[in-house]
Subunit: 337 residues, 2 copies
């Protein structure tokens, strides 16, 4: 038996108001008195009426919008060039597919549930999330929201669950950097690592160890990806191992900090100590003095790939598996090595 | 007569599938074969079934999310400190009200319709929009979307329609800046204006003319709010009016550019030429050499006010009128005047 679908007219008749009034209430417009609003809402609920847009959305199951979630507070979102480049690639690719980007970020853990509600609320077709940390509950909430998603950067806890992600070849890039230093005759190669709750830092350190299997633990120092931590780590390394002749820093900002400390101590670069970074973003590496040898990753391209992966999951949900993409990295040689 | 509301069970029975399958399809989850998905969707449509979240949203008419729309392309959103501060105030105030901020920006005119669709699609409870230009169709689309909204900055075309907005007292601030120069005995006061399609620039120029009713038109030069345009405008003014003894620039970036040109020409600041800017954002004015006298506006506070104004419109739609807020500005005296 075919139940007739409730119409705007039906709601108007039931509520005893005009069609225009129902339309205004249902579309959230103002200018309707509260008692009338309540009568209309009651009729809407009793009849199970679905306004056009929602009805369309139920049929196509598409909103035309994709959430981009950055698991960092607002001040970092706007100050770190990494996010800008990542978002730029995503924005362009979504725009080319006539999808609306809606950007969300996370001020603190209290935002997690609200973001999960928004994702589950049917307001977006999919989600792209990055800068997730390994102790981050957000990754789980996103994975359980039933919205198709792709992560930027290899997720830590989810690697075994077939979580789709896009990352660059952090480990291979680090191997190339350290091999380059070995080929240049360096024998005491230090590593300034990033924070161990980020897989990019973990994978770059793994690449260092792939080449230097028996590396002296004294040659390892952990930073936090800031320039300041690079300067401090370099000082600690020099105090501990004055004979070191090269350093591979897990990102360019830390490598710049290391350059500063080396120059302050009167060491010549690369004659006394060669330096290699990672990222090659903007002019951080190319504008350093001396210009930094580094490992280039295509951050904007990774953003575009995240969108393409998500589109595939949207268009072919039945094929969605553990399809992740690792993009290649390239060693860029400059004066510092 | 009470029509029974269609249920999940009803949809399952009609489609001939399990309750769990309907739930998966309706919630956009994967793992259901395409023919089944189509049967469920057909049943959903025929019965006019509304899933819980959508039903709740129809009753409360709330999604818990607010759109923040910046009418600028991504690269400006991420590079101009004005947006960061504005968004920071908005983000904190929304978060305090347990509302989810979703940020949208505009790469080009082709994005306008998509943003209007998103706003009309019931995905947000309200919208906050800023950096709208006077020739911008987006302002009209937002106003017609039936979603409650508040603009940041006085809109040009809409001023007569009672559009709600938050702005600082651009005209009063400019009057204070120019009066200060007059009090200090300056008699040939130039003005470097901003682009005339932005009301902030128009209002600041109006404040200049309020004080200097008969200002020599030769003392006026138009810039585009960039430091470079300030430097160029200052050069043009000096070539035209070598006797000028003060300049009021419509923002601090242009004032910095003016400082640069004045110093390059060997003029003493403030002895030969006094300089006043507008904004006092970050260290643009305070970090200039010499430090810039300027008009301070509370950008973060304006963001918070936009949220409060929107909340009032959401909670009391029947009272919503042309309630706009103009926040005060303060003259901050430093070495340049």
């Amino acid at each position: 038996m075919m139940t007739p679908r409730p119409t705007l007219e039906g709601v108007a008749a039931r509520a005893g108001v005009s069609r225009a009034t129902v339309s205004r209430v249902v579309n959230g417009g103002s200018g309707v008195r509260q008692p009338l609003i309540e009568r209309v809402r009651k009729a809407v609920e009793e009849l199970g009426y679905v306004p056009n847009q929602a009805a369309r959305s139920l049929v196509t199951q598409r909103t035309g919008a994709v959430a981009v979630i950055i698991a960092e507070p607002e001040f970092r979102v706007f100050s770190d060039p990494f996010f800008e480049r990542h978002v730029r690639g995503i924005s362009r690719e979504l725009s080319a597919n006539d999808l609306q980007l809606v950007l969300l970020w996370v001020e603190g853990e209290s935002d997690h549930d609200r973001i999960a509600r928004y994702l589950s609320g049917g307001h977006v077709d999919g989600a792209l999330a990055f800068s997730l940390h390994s102790d981050d509950r957000l990754a789980q909430l996103i994975a359980h929201s039933r919205v198709p998603y792709v992560f930027g950067g290899r997720p830590a806890a989810f690697s075994s669950l077939g979580t789709p992600y896009v990352d660059c070849d952090n480990r291979g890039g680090a191997r190339a950097a350290v091999s380059h230093l070995v080929s240049a005759g360096r024998s005491r190669i230090a590593h300034i690592a990033g924070p161990s709750d980020q897989t990019s830092a973990v994978d770059r350190a793994a690449g260092y160890h792939d080449v230097l299997v028996e590396a002296d633990p004294e040659l390892l120092q952990k930073g936090d990806f800031t320039e300041e931590s690079g300067a401090r780590s370099m000082a600690a390394l020099l105090d501990r191992c004055p004979g070191l002749d090269a350093v591979f820093a897990a990102n360019d900002l830390m490598a710049r900090g290391a350059l500063r400390t080396l120059l302050e101590r009167g060491l010549r670069i690369p004659d006394d100590v060669a330096v290699v970074g990672f990222d090659d973003m903007g002019d951080v590496a190319s504008g350093a003095v001396p210009a930094l040898t580094t490992v280039r990753q295509d951050i904007e391209g990774m953003g575009r790939l995240m969108v393409r992966l998500l589109m595939r999951r949207l268009d072919h949900p039945e094929q969605a598996g553990a399809d992740s993409v690792i993009t290649p990295t390239v060693l860029v040689q400059r004066q510092s090595s």
